[in-house]
């Protein structure tokens, strides 16, 4: 693994499988009396959250603490923080405090890249979501969840059909998922109205469609993305009603899925908009499981970045030492 995890594209197939396999081992931690491992004792992980996200921050915090790392939480409500100064000066402060890893969520695409390559900090940078760019640990936990249900919990996702539906244009979850699922051999189809697909999406390693109904009967997994109602004010779609009628996953559509197919959502959900309440709560919905898988996956990421010798200069790729 490289020194930072900024994009799902940072992981080749071997890296991705290593993370998933490590997460699988760590998932069994919850069955133990002491749900803690000493591995990151003495390491400091900073959660640098410029956007509100209780769920993701708690997930990373739990992951770090279960590995016995020290956790420092820094949250800055984006709007009141003056531009520029905040990221750099905050980073310099964290470096002075000895952060071994910085988990950053920021509203600006590319902020983790700046943090990793500017020379402000020396530790590892984990992208916990940057603007509309990427959210690699979300893609990892999504792949982990899919693997559990569709591939017996091991190996890759070769040949599995995944349909991702929603506001792809503004979705960092979609970008990371498309990249990682392609790496793992899955066939991805993005479904959205034309206004919510980015220019150039035809160059992405996936198919696209404007029609949801024709992409259900063969899907192994359907992932619904959050769609904000406010987008209609910028004319991305005429009304919430029309959006949900054409692209919402309701009970009727869910019934068209194959029996084994799972329903996913990165959260938070807009019940009634992109997903009907009864679908969110159906047995084939793995939305709650995604959350708990998030902790194991984030433990795996933190372990692989920090659990061994300090990884080299930015851009280095090191295979882990595997011993008999």
């Amino acid at each position: 693994m490289k020194r930072h995890l900024l994009s799902a594209a940072d992981l080749d197939r071997d890296d991705a499988l290593l993370v998933l396999d490590t997460a699988a081992e760590l998932a069994s931690l919850t069955d133990r009396a002491v749900k803690k491992l000493p591995t990151l004792r003495g390491r400091t992980v900073v959660n640098l959250f410029f956007e509100d996200s209780t769920r993701t921050r708690i997930s990373f915090e739990a992951a770090a603490k279960r590995l016995s790392a020290d956790v420092i939480n820094f949250s800055a409500k984006g709007s009141s923080v003056s531009k520029g100064e905040s990221l750099k000066d905050t980073a310099l402060t964290l470096e002075a405090m000895g952060a071994d890893a910085v988990v950053i969520r920021h509203g600006s695409s590319g902020a983790p890249h700046r943090l990793a390559h500017s020379g402000w900090i020396g530790g590892s940078v984990v992208n916990a979501g940057d603007g509309t760019h990427e959210h690699p640990t979300q893609a990892l936990l999504d792949a982990f969840t899919m693997r559990r249900h569709l591939a017996g919990g091991s190996g890759d996702l070769e040949g599995r059909r995944v349909t991702i539906v929603g506001d792809v244009l503004h979705s960092r979850v979609a970008r990371s998922n498309v990249l990682l699922l392609a790496t793992l051999g899955a066939e991805v189809t993005l479904v959205a109205p034309p206004t919510l697909l980015p220019v150039g999406v035809e160059t992405w390693p996936c198919a696209t469609s404007y029609d949801l109904d024709s992409n259900l009967s063969k899907a192994d997994a359907v992932m619904m993305l959050r769609v904000q109602r406010e987008r209609m004010n910028a004319a991305f779609f005429p009304s919430a009603r029309e959006y949900s009628r054409r692209y919402g996953l309701d009970a009727r559509r869910m019934a068209q899925l194959p029996d084994h197919a799972i329903v996913m959502h990165p959260g938070p959900m807009n019940r009634g908009m992109e997903i009907a309440a009864e679908v969110a709560d159906a047995p084939r919905s793995v939305i709650v499981e995604q959350v708990s898988n998030g902790v194991s996956v984030r433990m795996a990421v933190l372990y692989l970045l920090l659990g061994g010798a300090q990884l080299g200069a930015p851009g280095d790729s090191l295979d882990p030492a595997v011993e008999a």
Binding site: L18, K36, P38, Y303, G307, G308, A321, A324
Partner: protein, 212 residues
């Protein structure tokens, strides 16, 4: 923990090691040693009704299963067998990039109040077993922990000793012990290689072997 001598390993150290390698245990001797160890375990356990065998991956797990089979032949009863990966508890993590985890599989009956017999292929510095003890501490509280190894090659760095030993093989630090098991390597054998002072694997010794 033995140095990997699997077909997929490459490197000058292993290929040169094969040149001056001698066999110290062949398949038949290994089988006899395991049988004796199984008997010793049963004898000391006085009935074996709360025994659990935990192998240290990778080869310790196969050896543990073989010992369990022999105990079943002796006592007519199935003994729970599992595996205990100690990677997360190693004391030398920071010396190399993060290692891939190996499987930990604790039998459903758990280890609380059980007599746990750890099974490993080679006992060397004792650090692996120290890590295993710490790992078990976070899983439960055995009544007792015992240690069975196929080979004890000496050079302990911690106050750890084996209860059951297949064979004592005194070695020098510059030598390497290779344990091969059929399930993993296609044959059963214990080999020793090296012994010269110009070992290219001097650093390998400290990072791999020294933690057996």
């Amino acid at each position: 923990m033995s140095v990997a001598q699997t077909p997929d390993d490459t490197g000058a150290a292993s290929s040169s090691a094969l040149h001056d390698t001698r066999t110290v245990l062949d398949g038949a001797e290994i089988a006899r040693a395991l049988t004796r160890v199984a008997h010793e375990i049963v004898e000391r356990a006085k009935g074996a009704d709360n025994l659990v065998l935990l192998g240290i991956p990778t080869r310790g797990v196969f050896l543990a299963r073989r010992v369990a089979e022999r105990i079943r032949d002796i006592e007519g009863r199935d003994i729970p067998v599992g595996s205990l990966d100690v990677t997360m508890y190693r004391d030398d993590l920071r010396r190399a990039p993060a290692r891939a985890l190996l499987p930990t599989d604790i039998p459903t009956s758990g280890i609380d109040d059980k007599v746990v017999v750890l099974v490993d292929d080679v006992l060397y510095s004792g650090r692996t077993i120290r890590a295993a003890l710490d790992a078990m501490n976070d899983i439960g509280r055995p009544r007792a922990v015992q240690l069975a190894v196929l080979v004890d090659r000496g050079h302990r760095e911690l106050p750890i000793r084996a209860d059951y030993v297949g064979k004592n093989i005194p070695t020098s630090h510059s030598e390497k012990v290779h344990v091969l098991v059929t399930e993993h390597d296609g044959q059963d054998a214990v080999l020793i290689s090296g012994g010269t002072t110009t070992e290219s694997s001097a650093t390998q010794d400290t990072t791999t072997e020294a933690h057996a």
